[in-house]
Symmetry: C2
Subunit: 306 residues, 2 copies
């Protein structure tokens, strides 16, 4: 039956589900496929975090983009994943696929971008792999760690929790997707001062990533159009809802925590936290209250690879 199916027929998420059904892990694995990073037993009171991101020329970037920024983005998107677990990044491997006639200057600049971001976030570049390929490929594998009590999964959101995002959303394609700063400082502040029930980084768009939280947590959610912090770069509300690669944090916490977070106001050195909605019962699904106070169902669409 399935012999004639192609990848584009079942899509990225169908493919991930298909693969994850076939994979078995031992009990040292706390969380495998289905969160921002894998989580494994580590030393003492810490878990090990493990994630990888692949950037491919003409899919994720074009050769005329800032080479420095391409390097930055490759590492920063993995740091964003570690941040979304409440953890800190530690060790990275960089695997490169490079056309043989590529200029050394290009590779140097990619590495300057990687090095600069590694230094800023105290990540150790410990190795990698270099291969010949037609298109430029950058695959980043990042190990992080998290205190067991600080670990935040997608699956912990509860009915009545309030939903927040960092920074502003939308229009990332015009600039931010290459220049964003992963919200590591914000994540550290949150896990230190609050009990965050669920968190994800927005890579596929607010709606699709909120949908993942509701799926993993078996809840529903409602957000308010009026409360969504739309980026100056965004050309419409839709870009804030559905455009991928904001790399902001989307998280949930209890009402008490939410009140305290709002009262704290803007924290020096951190980006703003915006309250955007609430976790509801599962059967409620995913909805938005528009500026005109109408309730609309949100379809889980966003950036898709296939």
């Amino acid at each position: 039956m399935s012999e004639n199916l192609k990848i584009c027929d079942i899509g990225e998420f169908g493919l991930i589900e298909r693969i994850s059904k076939k994979v078995r892990v031992d009990k040292s694995v706390i969380k495998g496929i289905s969160d921002d990073t894998a989580v494994m037993e580590y030393k003492g009171n810490n878990y090990l975090l493990f994630t990888s991101d692949m950037l491919i020329e003409d899919i994720h970037f074009r050769r005329e983009f800032s080479h420095f920024s391409i390097g930055h983005k490759a590492l920063a998107s993995s740091i964003s994943d570690i941040s979304a677990m409440g953890g800190i990044p530690k060790y990275v491997l960089i695997s490169l696929g490079l056309p043989k006639d590529l200029s050394l200057e290009f590779v140097d600049r990619i590495y300057e971008g990687i090095n600069s971001t590694a230094k800023r976030f105290k990540v150790n570049i410990v190795g990698g792999d270099i291969n010949r390929s037609e298109k430029i490929i950058i695959d980043v594998s990042l190990i992080g760690e998290v205190k067991k009590k600080n670990l935040i999964l997608r699956s912990g959101a509860k009915k009545g929790d309030r939903i927040f995002v960092t920074g502003s959303l939308g229009g990332s394609i015009y600039r931010k997707h290459l220049e964003f700063l992963p919200r590591l400082k914000e994540s550290k502040y949150l896990v230190k001062n609050f009990k965050i029930s669920s968190m994800i980084d927005i890579s596929d768009g607010l709606v699709l990533d909120l949908y993942k939280i509701t799926q993993e947590s078996k809840v529903g959610a409602i957000i308010y159009e009026d409360l969504i912090p739309i980026s100056k770069d965004a050309k419409s509300l839709n870009e804030a809802l559905y455009m991928g690669e904001d790399f902001e944090l989307l998280f949930c916490l209890s009402l008490d925590g939410a009140i305290r977070l709002i009262k704290n106001g803007k924290i020096k050195g951190l980006t703003k936290f915006s309250y955007i909605g609430e976790i509801t019962d599962k059967r409620y699904g995913l909805r938005i209250i528009t500026k005109r106070c109408k309730e609309k169902i949100l379809k889980p669409k966003g950036f898709k690879h296939f």
Copy 2:
């Protein structure tokens, strides 16, 4: 000056050297770039090992190869790297680049190859990343661990040590590069029973990988043509010396250890160990004694990506 240089002008090793000069790591990193895997502080008496390998369609394999074998090879080559450190593999991430019109059956078979090898070597598949790309790309990132006392670096070979290899060499391109078994059992046996001073897995060819040991250990080496275990698949001595992807272990140990290893003979369930030469003074370089008892200098050539 360097602006007009291309990657093919300095080659893979020139590029690695260029990159590693720019990278800084903290003191938790025992070994960064320049061994089979990175080595970091871990828990108690163990180090963390970390390695990645990228396979790209039309560079490392063609689409008409056995899909099962492509999956197997992707994971097995990283397990081979962990084995060469004296360690055991634990957690793997699989990043895929896939053409959107690729059949699901193809992906299923690749994953069957990965899963089968993961099961055999008790590796947990904990996640990954799926992207659209024109060519098939499989990037494997593998975490392993090693008891501190068992860690084997490339840099530990000493003058007078004897040189051994597992299995047989050459002709891998005809079959073995897709079907090889990483020498994890052999590595476990060696670290348990002997003090191995230096080890590497043969991925770029015997001569080039022995050269890496001599460079890292600041020694020379001499091998004997008569003693090299040439594979039945090899069409010439040159294929045993220079053809890449044997994925056998090349290792050194003291004369006492060498005598004991030889006396032990063939161990049940393990491939054979063959004595092939000795570590010499650095100024001696890399040489071979031919069947006709002539001494010849070996040039460090082998598989090169650029």
